[in-house]
Amino acid sequence: MKTLAQQKKRTGLFFISPTVLILILVVLVPLIFSFVISFFNYTLVDPSFDRFILFKNYSTIFQDTYLWNSLKITLIFVFTVVPLEFVLGFFIALLLNRNIRFKGLFYTILTIPMVMSPVAVGLIWKMFLHADLGIVNYIFSVFNLPSVNWLGSNKIALLTIILVDIWHQISFMILILLAGLKSLPKEPFESAKIDGASNTQSFFYITLGLMRPVISVAILIRVIFSFKTYDLVYTMTRGGPGVSTELISYFIYKKTFMGMDFSQATAISYVLFVIIMVIVIFLFREMSGRKWD
C-alpha cells in the first residue's frame, strides 16, 4: 500500500518531468554542445570535431582587443542604464503612490513600453533620431539647439542606445517598485508621523528600509536582462559606428556570422555565461532569504 508521502513524491516527479525534459532538450543539450565546441576548432563552414585544441579558443579570445572593447561597452551600458532606470523609475513610482487623481491613466501610459517589442522600439527611435530627416533634430532646431548625429557618431551612439533603453525599460522599474510601495505596511509610517518624523525622514528610514528586498531584486533582474541587450543594437546601429555600440550579445553574433568563427563565439559565450551566473546567484540569495527557504 502506498503512503501519502510516496504518492506525493511520485506525483511531484510526474508533474515536473515535462518541464525538465523540455529544458534538457532546448537548454542543457545546446549548452553541452557549445561547451564541447569551445575546445575544438569548429567552424560553420567546416563543422567537424577533428581539431581538438583545448584552451586555444579561450586564450585567443582574451587577446582579442575587440572582446575587451565589447566587455567595456557592455559594462558601461549596464551600469549606466540600470542606475538611471532605478532612480527615475523609483521617483515616478513614488509620485504614482501619492493620493492623486488620474493615477490609473498615468500608470497605464507609463507602463506601455513594457509590452512593446524591442525591435519596434529600436525602429521607431531610429526613424526619430535620423540626423537629417528625424523629428528629434527638427524639434531641436525649433528651440535653436544644434543638430545631433545621434546614431552616426561613435562618441554619441552608445549614449543614444542608453537613452532609448531607458525609455523602453523604465516601465519595468515603475511596475515592480510601485507594487513594492503598495505592499508596504501602513503602521510604521503612522507611528513615525506621531513621533514627529518629517516626510523626508520617513522616506529614508522607513520606505527605503522596508523596500530594500524589492529594490535589490528589481535591480538585479534589470542587470541580468540588460546584459542580454541585443535587439536594440541590431536594429539601431549594428554595433556601429565602428565598434562603438558592440554590446557583448551582438559581438558574439557578429563573431559567428561575420567572423565565421563559431568555436571562438562559443568560448566567449561561456565567459558571458559565467558572468551572468554569478549575478544570478546573488539574485537567488536575495530572494531565498524571503521566499524560497
Partner: protein, 276 residues
C-alpha cells in the same frame, strides 16, 4: 494653512512630472501612428505636417506587395503555439516545486536560472543543431527554442500563485481521500485561474515580441513580424511610412491586450519580485 499650501504645491509638481513623463512615452507612439497614415512624401517632410488627408496606402502596400499577412499569421501561430504548450506544462512544474518540493532547491534553481541566460548563448548551438537535423524554418523548431526561456519564466510566475493558496484546502481534500491528481485539477487549478490568465498573456506577449531566436531559426515560411520589420530597413532604404505601419501592427495589439488585461499582467509580473 501653510501645510495645506505645501501639499498643493507638491501635488502640482506631481501632476507636472507625471504628465511630462506620460507625454514622453505617448507622443512617440502617436507620431508613429500618424506617420503610418501619411503618404511617403508627407512622411519625410521637414518641418513635418500635422494635418493631412490620411491614406491607407502604407497598410495596403504592406499587406499586398510585402506579404505582411503571412508574417502576421506566423507570429500568431508561434505565439499561440508557445502559450498552449508552455502554460499547462509550467503549471504542473510550478505546482510540483511549490507543494512537493520535487528535486529540492538545486533543481528549482537550475530551472529558474535558465530564463536568465542570454539568448545568444543558447541560440547559436540550437541554430547549428537545428540546421544539421533540418529543423530550422519550422514552427515546432522555433516554438521549442522559445520554450527555453518562456517555460522557466512561467514556472517561476505560477509558483508565486500556487504559494498564495492556503495549504489547508489541499490538506482537507487529502483527508477526504482525494488523490494529488484530483486535488490539483479539481481544487488548485480552479482557484489559480487568475495566475493561469497572467501566465498565458505574458507568454503570448513574450513570444510575439521575440526577435533573436526568430531571426536565426525562422525562414521564408515561418518568418515573424519582428524579423520582417528588422529586414525592411536594410533592404529597402527606410520607407518610413510603411515601416511605421508595420511597427503599429507589431505593437498596437500588445498594447491593447495589456490595457484590457492590466490586472492580470501586473499580478503576474510582480508576484515573484514583491510578494515574499
Amino acid at each position: 494653512m501653510g501645510l495645506k499650501q505645501n501639499k498643493n504645491i507638491s501635488n502640482i509638481f506631481t501632476y507636472i512630472i507625471l504628465s511630462v513623463a506620460s507625454l514622453l512615452i505617448l507622443l512617440p507612439i502617436l507620431w508613429v501612428i500618424r506617420t503610418s497614415f501619411a503618404s511617403e512624401l508627407i512622411a519625410y517632410e521637414i518641418p513635418p505636417k500635422l494635418f493631412f488627408v490620411p491614406t491607407l496606402k502604407n497598410y495596403i502596400e504592406l499587406f499586398g506587395r510585402l506579404g505582411f499577412g503571412s508574417f502576421l499569421k506566423n507570429s500568431l501561430i508561434i505565439a499561440i503555439g508557445c502559450t498552449v504548450v508552455s502554460v499547462p506544462i509550467a503549471a504542473l512544474g510550478g505546482f510540483a516545486f511549490t507543494r512537493y518540493r520535487t528535486g529540492g532547491t538545486t533543481l528549482k534553481f537550475s530551472v529558474l536560472a535558465t530564463q536568465m541566460l542570454p539568448g545568444i548563448i543558447l541560440v547559436l548551438p540550437i541554430f547549428v543543431i537545428f540546421n544539421t537535423i533540418h529543423f530550422t524554418n519550422t514552427y515546432i523548431g522555433i516554438i521549442l527554442a522559445i520554450l527555453s526561456f518562456n517555460l522557466p519564466f512561467l514556472v517561476w510566475l505560477l509558483m508565486g500563485f500556487f504559494e498564495g493558496i492556503p495549504k489547508d484546502i489541499e490538506d482537507a481534500a487529502a483527508v477526504d481521500g482525494a488523490t494529488p491528481w484530483s486535488t490539483f485539477f479539481r481544487i488548485v487549478l480552479p482557484i489559480t485561474v487568475p495566475g493561469i490568465m497572467s501566465a498565458s498573456i505574458l507568454s503570448f506577449i513574450l513570444s510575439w515580441n521575440e526577435f533573436l531566436f526568430a531571426l536565426l531559426l525562422t525562414g521564408n515560411n515561418t518568418k515573424t513580424i519582428t524579423v520582417s520589420l528588422s529586414a525592411m530597413v536594410t533592404h529597402r532604404g527606410t520607407l518610413i511610412g510603411i515601416l511605421s505601419a508595420g511597427t503599429i501592427i507589431a505593437i498596437i495589439p500588445m498594447i491593447l491586450l495589456s490595457i484590457f488585461v492590466k490586472k492580470y499582467l501586473i499580478e503576474g509580473l510582480t508576484f515573484g519580485a514583491v510578494k515574499g
